[in-house]
């Protein structure tokens, strides 16, 4: 009996703990959850020093967000009368409500940060570049999917922090709405769709809610799947190209049993296949890669929990159109845009362009277009693919880092140096104390 039980357990778990090399390479094909991994993977691809495991970290955060978000959907009421108070309930009365909400928020903020760092990493390693070496590979596509993922992540954050229906929420929508309104021609129509009218009310809340809990998560989930699939199609992380690929032509008849080549990159017409073999140590994905993924999962979850204990999610006063908080600040990841819209109103003789349009639409759009076009513009050699700070890309890396530094500096200015009435304060200066009622 015990033996039989053991056998059943073994049957269910062998893919995660293969006993032999053969089992290890089989496991990725036999287990549905593992089949998106290649059978073998280079040590460099799963090293922290190259990829910083950012994709896995993001995936962990996304999982945390999905789970906590699903629970929150049971506890949150998307109505203007109840929304704010259901958050108060989460904070004070619902068992573990404070934890679930705070963890959701911490994970969301971390996700925005890590997605941004991921973009920086991919740029600095030149991993978006196209090379002719691998058939079927077109890395720029994954860069574009990545940009889309960044936008959807920001939208998820934006729609998410509106749901508590407090002052932060209300005035964030107001500002967002007016940025949309400042766009020529289509502005009014976009605003009408976003707000569901002209005054921010129940119509708006339910729209943002449905976007936040259904449409955007579904879109981001599909994009993530595509992103993952593209990595496989591109032959793994870009670092394998840096490691060097040798082309081995093996004219062999494919046996009936399925075999999987090293990187899972197979091309050619059966029965003759051409294999590309990567130099460097390659190890079985199961259990080496799976263990590392699990480790990342566990560590990121633990870190998010620890941060949850340190940072309580804020909840401002109930939403009121009667008064605006002073200063009304967006969350930190939008502060660079808020700083931009405050500074970029252009006044030329008789012509005034609102900062909402310049800073809120033109500048981010130009940045995004540049980012999107860059893989096509970049003419640096293939040797730069998958290498940190390759010398041929020194100038563009410097410019890119400068843009990032400006964004971070703007965030810092917005977060620390802007007091009531958006006055500029030095970090060591005390903000003016705003009067209270009692």
């Amino acid at each position: 009996m015990r033996e039989r039980l053991k056998r059943i357990i073994r049957k269910l778990t062998w893919t995660y703990n293969p006993a032999t090399e053969r089992e290890a390479s089989d496991s990725t094909a036999r287990n549905f959850l593992l089949h998106w991994f290649p059978a073998k993977v280079t040590a460099k691809s799963m090293s922290f020093s190259y990829s910083m495991l950012l994709g896995t970290i993001i995936l962990t955060l996304f999982s945390i967000l999905t789970v906590t978000g699903l629970i929150l959907m049971f506890l949150y009421v998307p109505s203007v009368e109840r929304a704010y108070w259901s958050i108060k309930d989460l904070e004070f009365a619902i068992p573990y409500g404070w934890f679930i909400r705070d963890l959701h928020r911490v994970a969301a903020q971390l996700m925005v940060a890590v997605v941004f760092i991921h973009l920086v990493r991919v740029f600095l390693t030149g991993a978006y570049k196209h090379s002719e070496k691998i058939v079927g590979s077109y890395r720029p596509l994954n860069w574009w999917i990545g940009l889309a993922l960044l936008i959807v992540t920001m939208l998820l954050s934006y729609t998410g922090y509106l749901l508590p229906w407090d002052q932060l929420a209300l005035w964030a929508i107001t500002i967002g709405d007016h940025i949309a309104l400042s766009a020529p021609i289509v502005g009014a129509a976009i605003s009408k769709v976003l707000i569901g009218g002209t005054i921010i009310d129940q119509n708006t809340l339910i729209r943002w809610y449905v976007a936040h809990v259904f449409f955007l998560p579904v879109i981001i989930f599909l994009l993530i799947l595509w992103h993952m699939w593209r990595i496989r199609k591109d032959g793994g992380l870009a670092v394998v190209e840096a490691l060097g690929i040798e082309r081995i032509r093996e004219d062999k008849v494919v046996a009936k049993a399925k075999t999987y080549s090293l990187m899972g990159i197979v091309t050619g017409i059966t029965p003759t296949i051409t294999q590309y073999r990567v130099r460097g140590t390659a190890v079985s994905s199961s259990p080496n890669l799976t263990r590392r993924v699990l480790l990342t999962f566990v560590l990121v979850t633990a870190a998010a929990m620890a941060l949850t204990f340190l940072f309580k999610a804020p909840l401002e006063e109930p939403a009121s159109l009667m008064w605006t908080p002073n200063p009304a600040k967006a969350p930190w990841y939008f502060l660079w845009l808020q700083e931009l819209v405050a500074d970029t109103t252009i006044r030329l003789k008789g012509l005034t362009i609102s900062g909402g349009f310049v800073g809120g639409i033109i500048i981010p759009t130009v940045l995004l277009l540049f980012a999107a076009a860059w893989p096509l513009i970049d003419r640096t050699p293939d040797q730069a693919i998958g290498v940190w700070f390759h010398k041929s890309r020194r100038l563009q890396n410097a410019v890119f880092l400068l843009v990032c530094a400006v964004i971070i500096a703007l965030i810092y200015v917005g977060a620390v140096m802007r007091g009531p009435y958006w006055h500029l304060y030095m970090p060591w200066q005390q903000w003016i104390k705003m009067p209270t009622r009692f």
Binding site: W85, F92, A93, Y96, L295, E317, W323, P435, R437
Partner: protein
């Protein structure tokens, strides 16, 4: 590298496990549990174990759907409705059985509608409203002491009067009653709109209690905290000092009067009251102002139906009434009464120097009776047409508001002025 992963997994797993335990510990050891176990102990000593055992545990709340309030105060203040706990210390003591408590039952009103504070909160600081992003602090003794009230606990009258705005001389509301007396005496409505009617010289005060504190100008506030309460207090003490060039005269209010007026003004807030919460009639101070109760009663009935009743019905004692009806010498007396009750004294004196408006000593000698009657009748019109009026406006800057006086009252006033001038 992979061996290290296994070790890291042990560490990471341990961390995750430990943090989960921390979370469970934090959830299961909230502050209110300590209060409840202390209370159970005290209660079993005071009211007996059998009754103490029946007390609810866990988060307890009074849910008042019609006021949209959820008050979890009673999670810690468990003794509030248990007779016999009167001698227990806060937060365990029984709610004082004040005379008006039978109209304000716990189940119908909850706690925060009167006391302020954050009903949803279950931590001491947040529940008492002493946190950022909560606009309604607990109106308790500490707050009263902060502003130097002689009866600090009575700062709560602010919330009483938010609902009882239209009732006069309500029992217990000493500060508000005092302030309402002053409002009538100084006739604030000459310059300010209160309850939708009044003059336009000063700002509309109908919902001054809702005003965003950021809109007060604190440049000239030298003492005290940067709060709306302090601003209003300082302003009542010396209007022109706080708001330079203010037309509002210094009425020489005492500190307590200024505090009372501040509380009154802060109580003027918007509030949504379902029908069953609108204060009913005849809740004037028991025993006080006998003979006027009937008037109060009928007036109250009218007010209960109207949303924001304005008219200040001056209830007159029989003596006053007979005095006004007497002819001849009575005319001067009536003029005196009009002068004192219609708010003239806010801007004018007779023989005591100029305030906002000119001293009226000798006015019957410098102006004809006809001009005076005209002026009192068509004040605003004459400010635009009459040369003397124009000149006066230039000198005193603040235009005299149009008064709602009938010709009998005007005659009486002029007669009164004349008698004053002749008296010397």
């Amino acid at each position: 590298m992979f061996k290290r992963d296994s070790w890291m997994l042990v560490i990471g797993g341990g961390l995750l496990f430990a943090l989960t335990l921390v979370m469970i510990y934090k959830e299961n050891n909230p502050g209110w549990k300590q209060y409840q176990s202390t209370f159970a102990h005290i209660a079993s000593l005071t009211i007996g174990q059998d009754r103490a055992r029946t007390i609810d545990r866990g988060i307890v709340q009074i849910y008042v759907p019609s006021l949209n309030r959820v008050d979890r105060c009673v999670t810690c203040h468990q003794g509030y409705d248990i007779p016999g706990m009167e001698k227990a210390r806060e937060p365990f003591t029984t709610h004082p059985d004040l005379p008006f408590m039978k109209y304000h039952t716990f189940s119908k009103f909850g706690c925060t509608i009167c006391h302020g504070g954050q009903g949803y909160a279950t931590t001491v600081k947040a529940a008492h409203g002493l946190v950022e992003h909560w606009d309604e602090p607990l109106l308790d003794r500490n707050l009263g002491e902060k502003y130097g009230l002689e009866q600090p606990g009575h700062i709560m009258e602010i919330n009483c009067n938010t609902c009882h705005r239209d009732n006069r001389n309500v029992e217990w509301m000493d500060y508000i009653n005092q302030a309402e007396g002053l409002v009538k005496e100084k006739n604030c409505a000459v310059c300010h709109i209160i309850n939708g009617q009044g003059g336009k010289i000063g700002p509309d005060l109908t919902f001054e209690g809702d005003k965003n504190p950021e809109l007060f100008d604190f440049t000239n506030i030298k003492h005290g905290p940067k709060t709306a309460f302090n601003w209003l207090y300082q302003h009542f003490k010396d209007p022109a000092d706080v708001t330079k060039g203010s037309a509002m005269p210094n009425f020489g209010f005492t500190d307590e009067q200024a505090r009372a007026l501040t509380m009154l003004v802060l109580s003027w807030k918007k509030i949504n009251l379902p029908y069953e919460f609108i204060p009913k009639t005849g809740i004037a101070r028991a025993g006080g102002r006998k003979g006027t109760e009937g008037t109060e009663e009928t007036r109250g009935a009218k007010q209960a139906v109207r949303s924001l009743p304005q008219e200040e019905v001056t209830t007159k004692t029989p003596e006053q009434k007979s005095a006004t009806q007497a002819p001849g010498a009575g005319l001067q007396a009536k003029g005196k009464e009009v002068f004192e009750t219609k708010g003239c004294t806010a801007c004018h004196t007779i023989g005591k120097g100029k305030l906002v408006g000119p001293d009226l000593k000798g006015v019957t000698k410098t102006r004809t009776a006809r001009w005076l009657a005209d002026w009192l009748k068509n004040t605003t019109k004459m400010q635009a047409t009459d040369p003397i009026a124009k000149e006066l406006l230039q000198e005193y800057k603040v235009p005299m508001p149009q008064q709602d006086l009938n010709s009998e009252e005007i005659d009486a006033l002029i007669d009164y002025f004349r008698s004053k001038d002749a008296g010397e």
